[in-house]
Structure formats: structure tokens, C-alpha cells
């Protein structure tokens, strides 16, 4: 009995010791509900004053982020601080408009779920190909669109599904998507295959399954699909783009609910649209490289 008590005490102490290691996160004050009247850099309410903290995924892929990972980077595949890739370029253009230099931008790895779930955030905004939908907008604040997106289908080139031209052709396919994404919603709401789609935690898992032939096709946003089909995998094909159903899907930055920064960011976006920066960046990183047929209804 005494031996049992000693063992239990050992585990308890070990557990407490492990828990006491890290320090707690910053206590985020609840964001003020008044709109920001001034967008001057020194008057912005930021998580870390003087710095623009952006949340994004790890790893992140082309065409959203490019340039590889320099020495010492904590990011895999691509480091967002390179400024290369559509999202990275847009982020730095936005930062410049808000008055931040390149060095004053900090990137933070966050899980995709964190970017649209309710609750306090430890970043100023998240940028991770997050689609706007009304449900998410109840939990977080979205900025204006910085990219209008369609879903697309990737398949292995030697499979019958690779020659699909209509959604009806996909009825018996085993498709795959990441959990909690608009990709998954599109499959279930619009494609409605007879087989339940396979669902994965991450895009990497989804791609692995496609490579293995465990799914026939992968549904994701069009630029990502292009990258997977033409760069990441050697025997895959971008079968086609899906039509928009309902309102046009778009990506937005997400902010903690009530964060007044949204207003300033939207002003900056408006300016970047007006002077053609967003178009130019899109041409540079996305549109010029990506063409695909439309999969008909």
C-alpha cells in the first residue's frame, strides 16, 4: 500500500513539474468595441505594440507562400517572411500601407481551426486561405476579400476520374477533403457523391491519401490544387475548377471579434485595390500560372 502511494506521488510530482515549465501566454484584454478613429500606426491596438503579428499555417505551400526556408526558420517548406508568394506579398503590401516596415512584421504559426473559432487570439489577424462564411463571421471578424476563390479537383492522372467533365461524373468517386473547410462543405453540399468523403486533419494527409490511391480525388481551392497537381505530385492532374454555387467564395483575413484593426485593414485593402497592387500581385503569383477547365454542373 505504501509502495503504491509512493508511485502515485512520483507521477503526480512529475506531472506538476512538466506543467510548470512554460510561461502563460499574454493576457489579451478584450478588444475595444469602439471603432478605431485613427489608423495611425502608433494608435493601433496590437497584440505586441510596434509589431504587426500575423497568424498563418505551418507548413504553407505555393502559390500562397514561396521562397523556401532560410536558416533558422521555424517554418517548414516555406517561410512567410520571405515576402514571396501571393499571401506573403499581400501581407507585406498591407503592412507597408499601415506603416509597418518589413522588420516590424512578425509571423506566428497557428492551427487552421484557431483562425475562425471564437475566442481571444494571440495574433492581430490570420492569413491562411480562410474562406468567408456567415457561420465563421459570427465567431471572428473578416476583412474585405483579398482573393476570390473557386474549388478545384485534383486526381491521379491514370484514374478514370481524371477525365471527368461534369459533377455527375463524380457521383461514385471517393473524394477527400480537410475537416472543417469550405472544401469539405462543397463536396457534401454540391457534389454530393454516393460515397462518404474521406476527411483528414491536414492538407498533407489529404495529399498523402491521394498519392496512395486511397481516394480518387482531392478537393481544395484552385491555386492550391494547381500547386499539388503540377508541382508537388508527379503523376497528378488538375481535373478542373468547380463553378461557384451561391455567393462567390473569397478569402479574408480573420480578426478577433470586435478588433478595431479591421477597419484600418479594410481601408488599406481599398487603397491597394484602387492602385492595382492586388491585381498585380495576383497576376504575378497566381493567375499567370494557372489555367484549368470548368467542371460543369
Amino acid at each position: 500500500m505504501r509502495r503504491l502511494a509512493l508511485i502515485a506521488a512520483f507521477f503526480l510530482l512529475a506531472g506538476l513539474a512538466a506543467g510548470c515549465g512554460g510561461g502563460g501566454g499574454d493576457d489579451n484584454d478584450a478588444a475595444a468595441t469602439t471603432t478605431q478613429t485613427s489608423c495611425a500606426k502608433d494608435q493601433l491596438e496590437l497584440v505586441s505594440s510596434g509589431t504587426l503579428t500575423i497568424g498563418t499555417g505551418n507548413p504553407e505551400f505555393s502559390p500562397w507562400y514561396e521562397g523556401g526556408t532560410p536558416n533558422g526558420s521555424t517554418f517548414e517548406v516555406n517561410d512567410p517572411a520571405t515576402g514571396k508568394g501571393y499571401e506573403s506579398a499581400v501581407a507585406y503590401a498591407l503592412a507597408r500601407k499601415l506603416g509597418f516596415s518589413k522588420e516590424e512584421v512578425q509571423w506566428k504559426a497557428v492551427s487552421f481551426n484557431q483562425t475562425f473559432k471564437p475566442g481571444p487570439k494571440d495574433f492581430d489577424f490570420a492569413m491562411q486561405q480562410i474562406s468567408y462564411n456567415p457561420q465563421r463571421a459570427k465567431a471572428v471578424d473578416f476583412s474585405e476579400s483579398y482573393y476570390e476563390v473557386n474549388q478545384a479537383l485534383v486526381a491521379l492522372s491514370d484514374k478514370p476520374i481524371a477525365s471527368a467533365t461534369t459533377i455527375a461524373d463524380l457521383k461514385d468517386a471517393k473524394l477527400g477533403a480537410v475537416v472543417g473547410t469550405t472544401n469539405y462543405d462543397y463536396v457534401v453540399d454540391n457534389i454530393k457523391p454516393s460515397k462518404k468523403p474521406s476527411v483528414y486533419d491536414t492538407l498533407s494527409d489529404n495529399v498523402a491519401a491521394l498519392k496512395n490511391g486511397q481516394i480518387d480525388g482531392l478537393v481544395t481551392d484552385f491555386p492550391t490544387a494547381y500547386y499539388i497537381a503540377n508541382v508537388q505530385l508527379s503523376n497528378a492532374k488538375l481535373v478542373g475548377r468547380f463553378p461557384t454555387v451561391g455567393t462567390q467564395e473569397h478569402f479574408g483575413l480573420t480578426f478577433e471579434k470586435g478588433n478595431p484593426l479591421v477597419g484600418c485593414v479594410n481601408k488599406a485593402f481599398a487603397a491597394l485595390k484602387q492602385d492595382g497592387t492586388l491585381d498585380r500581385l495576383e497576376q504575378q503569383w497566381i493567375t499567370s500560372k494557372a489555367h484549368a477547365p470548368l467542371i460543369q454542373q
Binding site: 475537416v179 469539405y184 494527409d205 491519401a209 486511397q214
Partner: protein, 292 residues
Amino acid sequence: MDHEQGARPTDPAVAAAGSRRSRILGGSGDTRSVAIAVTSTLVFLGAVVAVTVTSPGWPAVRDAFFDGAIFSDTFPEIAEAFLLNIRIFLIAEAFILVFALFIAVLRSLPGPVFFPIRAIAIGYTDVFRGIPTILVIYILGFGAPALQLSGVPISPLFWGVVALVLVYSAYVAEVYRAGIESVHPSQEAAARSLGLSRSQSLRFVVLPQAVRRVVPPLLNDFIGLQKDSALVALIGPVEAFRQSQIEESASFNFTPYLATALLFVLATIPLARFTDWLIARDRRRQLAGRVT
């Protein structure tokens, strides 16, 4: 058929208390004790519920975890997905019972000539008890099909079940081994002295007794397996946990997870009661024939 020595009421603790009372105080101690037990339980539960629902944080918790509308909306799909969990663990359990016994027997082969076999069995149990189950599922679920060897199945369900069988057989083999070693050597001695060979005495005398003895820890491991069936979601199949995840990410409400938890608990109750019944039924028989 149960032949208990004397009457045995349903709750031994209550009965013990009751009979003690009657001896000390006289009178119908049993009925009174039951009444007191029931009343005190109700009062206690009532107090807990009252404190919970009047606490300040309760409305937020209730909305986030106990949303009735969301529960009834999402429950049917989650229950349907749970059928996949049931399939997974039933199939896995069947294979584990056999494969783990095989490993345990390999481990018990005597003599220096069988040393390599024993070493393999030991290595197997060390490796698969050491690697986290989730890793094994990943490695087999994505890795094995990636080898693209002909004849190797690619189905994630197949590899998920294989992974669970490999991991849990390692634990269950040790349980069997403990059971085998708990059968008194005089049993094997009796069998051998009748002229039965080693494998015959193992098969007809030792193993039947060993297996009966380890039913509780065995079924304990199986309850763990039932829950780990959720890990197969990582490699694609949509089982109850994944389904509740999908629901949660649509509504940002945690009630679907509660529905899943409820289903898992309900699934383990029959197994737990079955275990209790088996223990009671076999315990008496183990006592006879033991060395005095």
C-alpha cells in the same frame, strides 16, 4: 447455474452493512439501510445539480456543451458514424484475442533452442507497447500503401484495424502471459504426469484456466481499444469522433462531442457488466483443484 452458499443480495456493501446493523441493533437492518442509501444518494445528486445550475458560468457552459437543438440535429449522423467504430473494434477484438494468444504462447516456449522465437515475441511486445498508437496508425495507414507493393491493400480501414490489432495484441499478450503464469505449476505437472505432451497440457489444461483468469484485465484492454477506434479517423474514415468534429466546426458548439462521448460510454457498459458476470461465474471454479 449459480449455487451460492447462502443468499447473496444484490449489493454486497449494503448487505454487509445491513447484516452488521441487524446484529448490533436488531430489527430489519436490510430494508432500512437500502432506504437510507437511496435517500442520501438522491439528496447528494440533487445538491450537486443545484450548485451547478446556479453557478455564474453555467449558462455559457450549458450553451456550449448542452445545446439540445444541436444535440438532436447532429445525433443521428454521429450515431450512424459510430457504427463504423463498432465495426472497427469488433473486428479488431476478434483478431487480437487470437493473435495475442499466439504471441503469449511463443513467449512461453521453453529451452534454449526456442530462444530466437522468445526474443522475437519479446521484441514485438516491447515495440508495439512503446510506440504511441496514433503513430502506428499513421505509419501503417499512409506508409504501407505508399510502398505500392502489389497485393498490399491500400484501404485505410484495413490498415487502421491492422494497426490497432498490432498495438493491442502486444498488451493483451502480456495479459495472457500473466494468466498462464498464474496457473499453478501443479496443474501442468498433473497433466504431464498423465502422459499429455507439453502442447497438449498447454492446450487442454493451462490455457483454458489462464484465459478464464485474465478475463477482467483482458476486457479492460478492450474497453481501451473501443475508444482508440476513433484514431482511425486520422487516415480518412469518418467515424463518430470525426463526424462530431465536422459538426463542431460548422457550429462552433461542443455539444456534438458530448453526443459522441455518450455513445462511447454506452458502448463500454455492456462489456463492463459482461466482465463482472464472467468473474462471478468462474471464480468459484478456480478455487477447486488448487494446491492446499
